[in-house]
Point group: C2
Chain length 428, copies 2
Amino acid sequence: MDMTPQALLARRDQAMGAGTPLFYNEPLHLVRGEGVWLHDADGRRYLDLYNNIPVVGHANPRVVAALAGQAARHWTHSRYLDARILDYAQRLVDLHDPSIGSVVFTCTGTEANEVAMQMARIVTGGRGFVCTTAAYHGHSALVGSLTRAPRRGRPDVHAIAYPQRYRPLADGLDAAGLVRAHLDEVRAAIADFDAAGVPLAGMLVCPIFANEGLPEPLPGFLPQAARLVREAGGLLIVDEVQSGFCRTGRWWAYQGEGVVPDIVTTGKPMGNGMPMGACAARPDLVARFRAAGRYFNTFAGSPVHAAAGLAVLDEIEDRGLAAKAAAHGAWLLEALREIAINVPAIGDVRGRGLFIAIEWVHDRTTRAPDREGAVAMVNRLRDAGALIGHAGEHGNVLKIRPPLVFEREHAEYFVALFKQALERTATA
Amino acid sequence: MDMTPQALLARRDQAMGAGTPLFYNEPLHLVRGEGVWLHDADGRRYLDLYNNIPVVGHANPRVVAALAGQAARHWTHSRYLDARILDYAQRLVDLHDPSIGSVVFTCTGTEANEVAMQMARIVTGGRGFVCTTAAYHGHSALVGSLTRAPRRGRPDVHAIAYPQRYRPLADGLDAAGLVRAHLDEVRAAIADFDAAGVPLAGMLVCPIFANEGLPEPLPGFLPQAARLVREAGGLLIVDEVQSGFCRTGRWWAYQGEGVVPDIVTTGKPMGNGMPMGACAARPDLVARFRAAGRYFNTFAGSPVHAAAGLAVLDEIEDRGLAAKAAAHGAWLLEALREIAINVPAIGDVRGRGLFIAIEWVHDRTTRAPDREGAVAMVNRLRDAGALIGHAGEHGNVLKIRPPLVFEREHAEYFVALFKQALERTATA
C-alpha cells in the first residue's frame, strides 16, 4: 500500500469525502505520541503545542492502563448501577462551585452543549439564547445555530460582540466604559427577544472566548452580564470545553471571572482521548431536565469512561498540572512578548495559563488582521517541528495550547523554534 | 463505602440527578462481563440477551487488545493523516451497496443521524422529514424532533403509521392492501409538506422499525416509499444503529428489504463499547456536505476508533457471526413460538436474526397491549438470570437482542429460563 501523504490524501478524499478538514499545507501523517511529542511516519518528531485532548500527555500510561483494565472487565451502559461512574461524577462536581451538584454525561462537547441548551429551555420555559458573534460551541443543528451567528436574523439566537480591548467596540472608552458598552449589547439582545415575543432561555459563552481569539479579559463583564440574563429569566451557561481542566491554571476559567454559572459544559480533555462530555449544573436544574425527558446517552457514563476520567483527574492532581500550567504559561507568555517587541507583524500577545494567543497583523497601528501571515507562520512552525494552530474572529490569531505535561524545557525549545520561524519569514 | 444497591441509588440520584434511566425493579450492580455473560457484585451471573453494543461479546480480548495497543501508541484526531482510519472507512463502505462510497465519522448514533439530516437538507435544499409515529433516532434537538412525533403539528416533521400487520392500519386488507395504505400515509405526509410550502428533505426510518416493536415486514413498502420520497425531491435515510452489523443475519437490514438507501447511519455495535457512529452515503452527497460546512467532530475517526472498529469487523467475519445470528436466531424464534402456543398473554412472536420481539397482550383476540405484563416478565427473567428489555409503540413488546457471540446452548438456556418465568407468572 502506498503510504505517501499524496496517496493517503487521495484515499481520504474518496472514503471520507473531499473537503474533510486537515491541518497544514503539508498534512502530517502521525504514527506515535508520547507526552508532548508526536512522531510522523518518517521518524520526525514534533513538539505538540496544539492538542488539548491529550491533556495529561499523549499515550499517558496511567490512562491507557485504566482504560484497558476496565475494558477487559466490563463495559456496559448507565442503565445499570456502577460504583466508579458515581465516584467520577462526585469527584467532578466537587471540583466546581458548591452550587454545581449534579452532572449529565455525554460523549462529546457538542452533546454537552445540546443538553445544556435543552436543559435551559426546559427549566426557564424560554427559547432564546444570547451568544457571541465569533463563537463555536459544536456541530449539531441546535448548538451549531450559535456558530458565528449574526447579531440578529436567527429566530432563537441573538449574538453580541465579544468583550475585548484590542479592537474595541467603540473608540475612546476605558475598561469600565467598554464593560458598559458590552453590557448594553446584552441588554439590546434581551430587549429584542422580548420585543419579538421570544422568552429568554439563557446566555451561552466560553468564559475566555477562546474561539473568538482569547481576548484580554474585561473584568466585571461576565458577572454583570449574568445578572442581566438572570433578571430576564435566563440562565448562564459557560462552555469550558476548551478552558476547563486546568488549561488556564485554575480548574475552571469561570473561577477567574468572579462568576458562578448555572450550567457548565466540558468535553475534550476529560478522557485524554476517550469521547467524553459532561453538563454539570445545579441539582434542581438537572432534576427538572431528567424528569422532562428521560435523557439517555447510550455510550456515555460507562465504567470505561469512569476509569479513563478518574485516571485523568488523578494525573492532573498528582502531577500538580494546574500550578505548572500557570507557571510555564506565564514564562512562555513573557518570553513571547519580549520577542514580539521587534516583530511588526505581531500586534498582541495574550494568554491565560497554557493558552496563548498571538495576533498577526498587517500593521500594528491599523491592527488589520493578517490571516495569511498567521497561516504561513503556523506552517513554518510545523516545518520547524512545532505544532500550533490559528483561530479567532479573523483567523489571524496563533493558538498555542499544549498538553498540560508541558515543561519549562519545552517552552524554551518552542521559543527557539519560534525565533527560527520568524527569521525564515524575514528572509522569505 | 456502602455498596448496596440502595446506597448506590441514593448517590446516583444526587450526583447524576433523580430520574436518570435505570433498568429493572431491582437494579443490577454489574462488575464483570465475558462473552454473553454479565456478573453482578454478589457473584451472580446473567445471560445477556439485551445488549447490542458488545456485539462481539463483553470484554472481547481482540477488541480490548486493539484498543489498548493503539491508545498506547497515539490517539489524535482526524485533521492529521492516519492510514488505519482510511482502512476502516474503506472496509466499512465496501460492506454496503456499491453506490454507498464515503463515510462521515461521528461518536454516537445521534450524531450520525444529525449528520444525515443536515446532509439531506444541504443536498436537497429541503427541510421536511417523514418518520414514523413510534420512532426513536436520538436525543439531540433536531434528531429528537423525530421521537414519537405526531402525524402533524411539528413544523419540519410529519410522522406516518409504521408498517405492520399485527394491529393493521385498516381492517380487511391483505398484505398488498396494507402496503398501499401505508404508501398513502407517505403520500399524505409529502402532500401536506407541499401544501405548507415546506420542501421535502427526506424520510428517515429504521428498516426493521425496531423501536416501533419489530413488526413483521410488509414486503415492497420500503422500496416504493423510497420512490415516492425521491420523486418529491427527498432522500431515503435508513437508521441501522440497531439493525446493522449482522443483527438480522445480514450486514445491513436494508439488504433484506430490496432497497438501497441514499444515506445509512450506524452506531452502537461499531466499536464494541467505544463511542462510534458513522453516516455513510453516496460520495456526491458526502462531498456536498463537506463543502457546505467543514464538519469536524473532535473525537471521531481517531486511530483508536479505527483500531477498535477494525477488530470488531475482523471478529464478525472470522467467527462467521452473520450466519450464526441467522441460524441461532431462527432456532430461538421457533422455540419461542412453540412455547407461545399455550401462553394466552403472548399475542405474537416475531424476529429477524438475533432480534426477537414478543407481544404481551391482555387478550389474543383484542390484542390489547399489556405493558405491565411485559415489564413483569422482564423483571422475572432478570430474577431468573436472563437480561432482556421491553420496547415498542405500547412498551409491551419483549425485546431480545443478545450479543452476536450467542450460541445454541445459550438459546437453549434462555428457553429454559423463559419457561420457568412463565410458570412463576401462572402461580403468582
